[in-house]
Amino acid sequence: MEALRRWLGYLAMLVVIVASIVAWTALPAVVLLACAALLVLWMAVTRTGRQASAVTWVGLRTLPQRLGASCVIVVGIAGVVGVLVALLALAGGLAETLRGTGNSDTAIVLRGGATAELDSGLSREDATLILQAPGIARDAAGRAIGSAEVVVVTNIPKKSSGTDANVEIRGVGPQAWALRPNLRIVEGRAFEPGLRELVVGKGARDQFIGLEPGATINLNAQQWQIVGVFASGDTHESELIGDAETVASTYRRNGFQSVTVRLASPQAFDALNAALKSDPRLKVDVRTTRDYYTAQSEQLSKVIRIVGIVIASIMAIGAVFGALNTMYAAITSRAREVATLRAIGFGAAPVLVSVVLEAMLLALVGGTLGAAVTWFLFNDYAVSTLGANFSQVVFRFDVSPTLVGTGVRWALAIGLIGGLLPAVRAARLPVTAALRES
């Protein structure tokens, strides 16, 4: 009978733990804050609540005596949260950079079936036909605001590793600046069409060797000069940009990879799409640049996110055992104190609550510490990886407040699990035996 009760008790605890983890991940922050407020209210108003706050306070006051053991919880959880937040910030930064490159005012046309510009090819005739299609914005002179672009890749060594990396060179048409108003020269000047001149993105200049203004680089055995640096706040900053015709002639190309156009209005997309689809001379796909660039980061950022969560989960399991250990040790060393409290009339519930709260408080400190260290070390730190165009994409770690919130949630969940079992043991402590213990 006793065994059955005990067993049922553990089963109930398991249910509580699972339910709280589910609630933790699913509930919005507002609800969780409301729960915390309710808890505070309970502790301030009711008799059991006041007992609980008193016991918690005693526990916290004795924390310095258990500093080493408490550090295990704090540092263990800081490690979990640090790794989780860093990897999620990596995935988030990549997704954010690529998503920010696209918008719904511009559309990109690729050869049918192509998933990236480098897989695509459009002839001169295709490009002319595309730029004549309806739905494209036109400037005062009646010219379509669009740019037929050549995308090629060249080897340039990366600063971090010193080994060759694929860097994207984009040859753009005369309307490219009108098409991308966010592109602005921050150093030097723009390239002259017809000359072998390039402007380099800020990100590319920082990541690769020898891309300072004034330097020359070798493209397909020809010398090209870098005349300026541009900023755009998006993935184009990983590229070098020059004149489409000149780039094409250097690479002996007679055609383009893509045509990007400004839409007359966001609704004009359907008209453009219908016109291009119905033209029997063209086999092309058109997408808004938002769709195109979002899809480019999707897979890689998803992989990083999953890997991050798996690694952090395994670390979290280790941290839970560490927390359990610490809290068991804590209640063992405080057994007499707890028994005394029980003897003078404190209930079991306040003791239970106090142990859980102590573990969660330590976890909160750990989680905040981990997130803070990650933010301090990595936020805005620039890295680059191989993107969908088989060339380097420069992006920055993005340690956003949401991510910090996620990290703290994980920390509190670990604290809750690590505190609950020892709390039950503390609450069940046989008073007489504990008092007698030396």
């Binding site: 640090g82 079936g113 897989d119 694929n166 086999k283 897979q299 670390m315 680059s384 191989l386």
Partner: protein, 387 residues
């Protein structure tokens, strides 16, 4: 060894604590087991596959083709035993997210790459029709492909002359399994006839992506690379010749410094672990002070007490660590199978085990040493009196 039962007794003294600590250690070494192979793969250590192979590719960039005429010249370079070539084809199966690694390969490709494990009958079947392809076993499992199936491919860089767009249809003539576990990654590829590719693609003929050279003596590869690169110096198709390992590694490095990231994660895990087990050991010794004093009274020397505590801490970590690595070696094939070959974690090799065991003993010794010194320096009188 005669103190082993003492170590066991010490570990069994507080079972909950020992079990919890071992479980933490287990989690840490499970992660180590899963990640160390990844780290090694990206740092290029541990694999000796293809030491006698070199890759000749354009110096300017990977998108630059080389002329077919270069092959004959490369074959004539002294020290070159064989030379074959391949071309990137690419494309996807059914949906853009199913990107494929498709290579158009020369007729003698498998002479240089026995790693694919292509048998003579399979090669004969492959050669029986122009549109035949060979598919890696992992890829075939992922998409449920069988010999005799059609393989439609979309989104290749190369337009199909026959259809005018980029849709291609191939016939699966064989499904190969790499005989060596280290070459499992090859099972993700699709191989088609370069000759068919060359004739059927709309981008012009006679161009090849890269040349693979087999050298007679790997020790001379630097000189051979120089000779090969000299063939095309100052032309519009200058080449860069690297060993296959360097070539692969340069791509791994382009993805990012995965090695560094993984090392940082493992470092963070072990730092936490040391703190945790250090705390456990400190507790264990603190609790046992009177017992240790009794051992000393019985005539145990300071040294043997020191050894006893360190041994206890090493044992704690070795038990958890070995369990963790063992669990990892069970989990890895399961993960690979569950992901349908999408995620191919390298299996735990002898190197990982040795490194892991080394780490266990080192960490055990480090975290044990402070509590052990404390135990060693106990003065019997004070300890027994509880001072």
């Amino acid at each position: 060894m005669k103190y082993l039962h003492l170590v066991r007794a010490a570990l069994m003294r507080r079972k909950t604590r020992t079990v919890l600590t071992i479980l933490s250690v287990l989690a840490a070494f499970l992660l180590f087991g899963l990640l160390n192979g990844v780290r090694a793969a990206f740092e290029g250590g541990g694999t000796l596959a293809g030491v006698d192979r070199m890759v000749v590719a354009s110096r300017f960039s990977i998108i630059h083709p080389l002329p077919e005429s270069l092959i004959a010249k490369v074959r004539a370079v002294p020290g070159v035993k064989a030379a074959t070539w391949a071309n990137w084809f690419g494309g996807y199966y059914q949906e853009p997210k199913n990107q494929l690694i498709i290579l158009a390969v020369a007729p003698d490709y498998f002479d240089v790459y026995p790693d694919y494990g292509i048998t003579a009958p399979m090669l004969a079947a492959f050669n029986s029709a122009r549109t035949n392809v060979l598919v890696g076993a992992a890829l075939a499992r992922r998409f449920g492909l069988k010999v005799g199936d059609k393989l439609p491919v979309m989104g290749s860089i190369f337009p199909n002359k026959a259809t005018g767009d980029t849709t291609w249809q191939f016939d699966i003539a064989g499904i190969y399994e790499a005989p060596n576990a280290k070459s499992r990654a090859l099972e993700q590829e699709v191989l088609l006839h370069w000759k068919y590719f060359d004739e059927a693609n709309g981008y012009g003929q006679g161009s090849i992506g890269w040349i693979v050279v087999r050298v007679a003596d790997p020790a001379l590869s630097a000189q051979i690379a120089q000779r090969i690169d000299a063939l095309s110096a100052n032309s519009d198709h200058e080449t860069k010749t690297q060993t296959e390992q360097e070539f692969r590694l340069s791509y791994a490095k382009q993805i990012g410094d995965i090695g560094l990231i993984v090392t940082a994660i493992i470092g963070a895990v072990f730092f936490t672990l040391m703190l945790l087990t250090g705390n456990t050991m400190a507790q264990a010794v603190r609790e046992r002070i009177p017992e240790l004093a009794i051992l000393k009274t019985l005539g145990f020397t300071d040294r043997s007490i020191l050894g006893l505590v360190i041994l206890e801490s090493v044992a704690l970590i070795v038990i958890g660590g070995v369990l963790g690595l063992a669990l990892a070696s069970v989990v890895i094939p399961v993960v690979s199978a569950a992901s349908g070959g999408m995620l191919e974690l390298p299996p735990i090799g002898v190197r990982s085990w040795l490194l892991g065991l080394g780490l266990m003993v080192t960490i055990g010794a480090i975290v044990g040493v402070l509590p052990a010194l404390r135990a060693m320096r106990l003065r019997i009188v004070d300890a027994l009196a509880g001072r």
